[in-house]
């Protein structure tokens, strides 16, 4: 297993947000983390990147990375599309993409990757010299995904990638994600409100409720179970 998490607790100040969370993810796998607002989905992703105080085990490639500083985790090849997009609003679109490749060497390969991102999201190419803060919400979401891909990650953490995107664009984005997963073998952990779409892309799903994983199973089964859908996924 590339990523193995066990007995993970997370805290905001005194308040505990995750309780003994356990899950894993294989090389090249795609899994999704579903649950209501405030369930702790974002907190799981933050825990992996050392952005909240945690205890418990997190293993990536057999390394115990719990408690590592964020930038050190990222340097292992973990890219994170954060909640709220994390745009560098005062820098240009292209600078945002360049920053995604900050830990990489090789100008030519980086330039080629930026070009590939522009092929995926032509809208970004048109706005490459524009301040990123002037992009629409949806465009910034594309930029956030593009920036994460610039790392050439081995694990991609996506926090509600569909947030703020029009339905057609969401379909397209998920299509692109599937393609990238197939082409590059990057593993993905996806947090989504759009459960139907996430379950289509992922092979396995975890359902989180008030900081605990209350159910997990193959995505097809979870999606097919009407009781689960009604109780946890709201559709």
């Amino acid at each position: 297993m590339m990523l193995e998490v066990e007995g993970l607790n997370a805290f905001y100040g005194e308040q505990q947000a995750l309780f003994s969370v356990k899950f894993d993810l294989a090389e090249g796998g795609v899994r999704t983390l579903l649950g209501a607002n405030g369930a702790g989905k974002t907190t799981v992703l933050r825990s992996l990147c050392g952005m909240v105080r945690t205890n418990g085990d997190i293993h990536f490639d057999g390394k115990a990375i719990a408690g590592w500083p964020t930038e050190k985790v990222v340097r292992l090849g973990v890219a994170h599309v954060p909640e709220g997009r994390g745009t560098f609003v005062r820098l240009t679109v292209e600078e945002n993409l360049q920053l995604g490749a900050m830990t990489r060497r090789g100008r030519a390969a980086i330039a080629a990757d930026i070009d590939r991102i522009y092929d995926h999201f032509p809208r970004l190419r048109e706005r490459r010299r524009q301040q990123a803060g002037t992009l629409s919400g949806g465009e910034q979401q594309m930029l956030a995904v593009g920036r994460a891909l610039m790392l050439r990650p081995r694990l991609l953490l996506l926090d509600e990638p569909s947030f703020g995107l029009a339905p057609l664009i969401v379909e397209e984005l998920f299509h692109i994600l599937r393609q990238i997963n197939r082409d590059t073998g990057v593993a993905m952990l996806i947090v989504e409100q759009n459960a139907a779409l996430a379950l289509e892309l992922a092979e396995h799903a975890y359902i989180l409720e008030t900081g605990r994983i209350v159910m997990d199973g193959p995505a097809a089964e979870i999606g097919a179970d009407e009781g689960v859908r009604r109780a946890y996924l709201g559709y």
């Binding site: 964020t70 890219a79 954060p82 745009t87 900050m102």
Partner: protein, 292 residues
């Protein structure tokens, strides 16, 4: 007209020094959200090191480069030792650290080199530039050296990956970490660059105001005024603000009757207060959203 031009040029020459100090202040402010009011003492200390090397017979430009390098390393060391541990501390703890730095450097100056006022050489000479009545050679040198320094900094920040990483870390530290930037080291680098800029400003102004432990006191005030005028969050604005303050100061000293040289600092500050009443974030600054 000739007097007017003379005063503008002299103002710009002083303004170059204020611009340097303003830029140094803004660099650290962007990185840690605090005003480094020991910036002037850091520059003075650097200038004393230069004075010592020159007294030992080291050639001027070798001294110049050495002192810039020493100051750069010193700035990084100050951040690592004194301010990195205070990374999450409140404003009072930071204030105490700045006071400590200020008084340590100030009394170190006096202890090592005593308080007598020292002359400091200029490599440009103080004759009129090419026989011109408009500007003397040292003033021209201040302008040229500062222009070169600012140009290099501009190229560094706009054209290199490290410069981009530093800007990203200052603007959005959380996202910067998420792309793998070592934000702590970018802060340290900011301190190093600020200290190096201060060293250049100190060595350039010392022939004019003479060297003593309190040499940069007034200069820092003008630099601060320039930074506030331009906007504490805008490096380019701070530079322009510094030049503007230099010119305003000189004009006030020359053309405002009775006030003369005594009150020109007051006048410069009044102008700035007036600007801030219209634009509280400075001319080029952004209103900052406070951190949560």
């Amino acid at each position: 007209m000739q007097l007017f031009l003379q005063q503008v040029l002299a103002g710009l020459a002083n303004g170059a020094i204020y611009a340097g100090m303003a830029l140094a202040l803004v660099m650290i402010f962007l990185a840690i959200d605090h005003l480094n009011f020991a910036q002037g003492e850091m520059a003075t200390f650097s200038t004393f090191i230069a004075w010592q090397l020159l007294a030992w017979g080291c050639p001027y430009w070798i001294t110049f480069v050495l002192v810039v390098a020493i100051s750069f390393v010193g700035g990084i060391a100050i951040e690592r030792v004194l301010f990195k541990p205070l990374h999450n501390a409140d404003i009072l703890a930071n204030l105490v650290a700045f006071i400590a730095l200020f008084s340590i450097l100030n009394s170190a100056d006096g202890y090592i080199w005593d308080y007598t006022i020292k002359t400091f050489p200029t490599p440009f000479g103080s004759k009129p530039l090419f026989g011109s009545v408009l500007i003397d050679a040292h003033e021209a040198g201040m302008l040229v050296v500062t222009a070169v320094l600012l140009g290099l900094l501009y190229l560094f920040f706009s054209g290199t990956r490290l410069g981009l990483a530093m800007r990203a870390a200052a603007h959005n530290p959380v996202s910067a970490r998420l792309v793998g930037i070592r934000v702590g080291w970018m802060t340290a680098l900011g301190w190093g660059i600020a200290a190096a800029i201060g060293a250049v400003s100190g060595m350039l102004i010392a022939p004019v105001v003479f060297l003593d432990p309190n040499m940069m006191f007034g200069v820092l005030l003008y630099g601060f005024a320039g930074a506030v005028l331009g906007g504490m969050t805008s490096p380019g604005g701070a530079v322009l603000g510094g030049f503007a303050v230099g010119v305003i100061e000189n004009m006030a000293g020359t053309f405002v009757p009775y006030v003369g040289r005594d009150l020109k600092l007051t006048i410069a500050l009044l102008v700035i207060v007036a600007v801030l009443m219209v634009r509280p974030a400075g001319i080029f600054g952004r209103t900052t959203v406070s951190r949560v």
